[in-house]
């Protein structure tokens, strides 16, 4: 797995000649990423007969491009209409949507695109350079370590509702309890399922996601003419290309922020099964913890948008690492890529880097080129995409409701899931109207089951000894890091107050 510059230059040059595959894949990825319930993984399955018919290299480039752009696509509805297309984008609306409401939708999109592209690009390059080391991550981050990483994300619920911490915590813990619905992962005993078999496998994510965010939003916004505030609408009508350029400038000025949040995504992405949602939440939490202005998060703060977007794009190349190095896919999309590669007789594992480095490094080259092409193709669209926010709620609300209910149905194709989305819609509506944070509930619903899975696994391994959570050195380092990152905002606040007084 040595670094050979000539190989890489050759590889990149070659990948660029496949622009005709990458371009349609990018647009398809944007569309499926933006529709809740759809994603790169199931699109690739639908297109599998076509992908398999392609030359292995072309097929691989197509899939990688689709994967990378769908990640970006999921951020678009999250920012513009408060509907994350996938769980990975669930942290994006926290600051993206407030920006839209202020009429800065176009700017927010530009910021999101730039941080996605650069976060993704950077993570890809680092992956290429550091593959031998990165591939070791999965050997160290086991259940116990993952418990602490989950807690990084979950600790967001304590800080997310800065205006009323108690209500934020109630919302978050309520979410955790909802996330615990279903059979436990060890003995499969159903818990809190109200007798529904459909809830045995935990609360399905997309119905919860679209219910809490989209359906409740649709019921909420009908009071106004559009989702924009009055001033936002004026700003929106005035906005020209300048807003996109402004967004690019803002994002680029936060280059350091993009770098380190994308690295969080990369490292978490390398762990099989962890994924984009946890990466986005952890990045957001860390970004806030080390910010000089934590109180601005949630009000349309640029860093709050950059962190999740560059992190979830950092995940994208990360999930390919375990796939290529140990033959274990890091996520759903990587799993399907494995199928296609194996179909063509490519065996994953360390040998691949020796036997056919162009195939081993190919996906990363394709990803880098995709991100590069996206800069020029997607960015100019921000202006037109953001127009959707001026559409009257008379039309917007019914469209959101009908198409997100469809999205709730798609993953499992149970009617039950549409009812569930409506139930979550009602919960979300009540939460919004009474000052509880819907995102805090969602964090609980998403991360609760993951936390419990790792926790129960660790507990089963230690045969019930709860002290197992402090049994690993690396985990203990992470525990210290968690405590520090929780204390920092408070300490910094005190420090500034002290400095101001002095």
């Amino acid at each position: 797995m040595e670094f050979d510059p000539a190989l890489f230059i050759d590889l990149f040059a070659r990948t660029f000649t496949f622009w005709w595959v990458i371009l349609p894949a990018i647009f398809l990825g944007l569309i499926v990423g933006a529709i809740p319930g759809f994603s790169a993984a199931n699109t690739i399955i639908i297109l599998l007969p076509m992908t398999l018919a392609m030359d292995p290299e072309v097929g691989l480039i197509f899939m990688v491009a689709l994967y990378a752009s769908s990640r970006m696509g999921a951020g678009i509805p999250a920012i513009l209409v408060n509907i994350p297309g996938t769980a990975g984008a669930a942290a994006t609306p926290l600051d993206g949507y407030p920006m839209t409401k202020q009429g800065r939708g176009q700017q927010a999109l530009a910021i999101s695109f730039v941080s996605s592209v650069f976060g993704g690009l950077l993570a890809t390059i680092i992956t290429l350079l550091a593959m031998p080391w990165l591939s070791q991550v999965a050997f160290y981050l086991h259940s116990v370590e993952m418990i602490v990483i989950m807690l990084f994300g979950i600790s967001l619920i304590a800080t997310i509702a800065a205006r009323d911490t108690l209500k934020g915590l109630i919302a978050g813990f309520f979410g955790l309890m909802i996330g615990y619905i279903g059979a436990d992962v060890v003995y499969e005993t159903p818990r809190g399922t109200f007798g529904f078999l459909e809830l045995y496998d935990k609360v399905p994510l997309i119905p919860a996601l679209v219910g809490l965010f989209a359906v409740s939003e649709a019921f909420f916004v009908i009071e106004g003419e559009s989702i924009l505030s009055k001033r936002g609408k004026e700003a929106m009508q005035k906005a020209g290309w300048a807003a996109t350029i402004e967004g690019v400038k803002i994002a680029l000025s936060k280059w350091w922020h993009i770098i380190w949040t994308s690295m969080i995504g990369l490292v978490i992405g390398v762990v099989p099964g962890a994924g984009a949602a946890i990466a986005a939440f952890v990045a957001y939490q860390q970004s806030r913890a080390f910010s000089k202005t934590p109180e601005l998060y949630g009000t349309g703060h640029v860093e709050g948008l950059i962190a999740p977007e560059s992190a979830n794009n950092g995940v994208t190349s990360g999930t390919l690492v375990p796939l290529l190095v140990i033959g274990i896919p890091g996520g759903a999309t990587a799993a399907i890529m494995l199928v296609v590669l194996q179909y063509h007789g490519v065996t994953m594992g360390p040998d691949l880097f020796m036997e056919s480095p162009e195939l081993a490094y190919g996906p990363f080259a394709a990803m880098a080129v995709t991100y590069f092409i996206m800069i020029f193709t997607i960015l100019p669209l921000a202006r037109y995409m953001s127009r959707i926010t001026v559409v009257s709620t008379i039309y917007m609300s019914p469209i959101i409701i009908s198409f997100t209910l469809v999205g709730a149905f798609v993953p499992r194709q149970y009617m039950f899931d549409m009812y569930l989305a409506l139930v979550f819609g009602v919960i979300g509506y009540v939460a919004r109207k009474t000052g509880y944070h819907t995102a805090a509930i969602l964090i609980g619903v998403i991360l609760g089951p993951l936390l419990e899975t790792y926790f129960l696994r660790a507990l089963k391994m230690s045969e019930g000894d709860i002290m197992v959570i402090f049994s690993k050195d690396l985990a203990n380092v992470l525990w210290v890091g968690l405590v520090i990152s929780l204390c920092i905002p408070y300490a910094m606040q005190r420090w500034r107050a002290w400095k101001a007084a002095a």
Binding site: I170, F173, G192, E223, Y395, S402
Partner: protein
């Protein structure tokens, strides 16, 4: 996020009844959850008990906080924010009924017809019956577009209704 309870009730007293809806629901749910895990292995109880007890504790704190405000006369237990603005209550309930209708009827009407009917009725409801032609056109385009995307292209197994069956027979 769009929490805005602070500007919904400008009366003398803060109406905090609405604030209790979610905690009460959470409390009842937590008790129900505990009831379902009384008899399960310890490993399946442990994290839920931990989280549930914290949740109940937090709800207790909130109840005390609200209780104090009510006692001090700065707040009352009217529903407040959740039903404001009152003029929108009928519309919202009607939209909720339409949404429920969507889910119920989609089993017989199928994807396309249900989406069309829902979009038309909901848009007419919210727009007070204005722009009928435009509404039907938009609903028609979206439902047919959705049919092409979800059923034809993505092969989603949405319940097939008369429209889908007709199309299948035709093509």
């Amino acid at each position: 996020m769009t929490e805005n309870n602070e500007n919904t009730d400008k009366a003398d007293k803060n109406s905090l009844g609405g604030d209790l809806i979610l905690p009460i629901a959470a409390f009842i749910f937590t008790l129900y959850y505990f009831y379902t895990i009384i008899d399960v292995p310890r490993i399946a109880q442990i994290s839920a008990f931990f989280v549930g007890i914290i949740l109940i504790f937090l709800i207790g704190l909130l109840a005390i906080r609200i209780g104090r405000e009510v006692k001090a006369g700065t707040a009352d237990l009217r529903l407040g924010g959740i039903i404001e603005p009152r003029s929108f209550i009928p519309k919202r309930l009607a939209l909720l009924a339409l949404t429920l209708g969507f889910i119920i009827f989609v089993q017989w009407l199928g994807f396309t017809l249900t989406v069309f009917t829902f979009l038309s009725l909901a848009m007419l409801l919210l727009g007070n019956g204005r722009n009928k032609g435009f509404v039907f056109a938009i609903a028609g385009i979206l439902s047919f577009g959705g049919y092409l995307l979800f059923i034809v292209a993505f092969k989603t197994r949405f319940p097939a209704g008369p429209f889908e069956q007709l199309m299948e027979r035709l093509f």
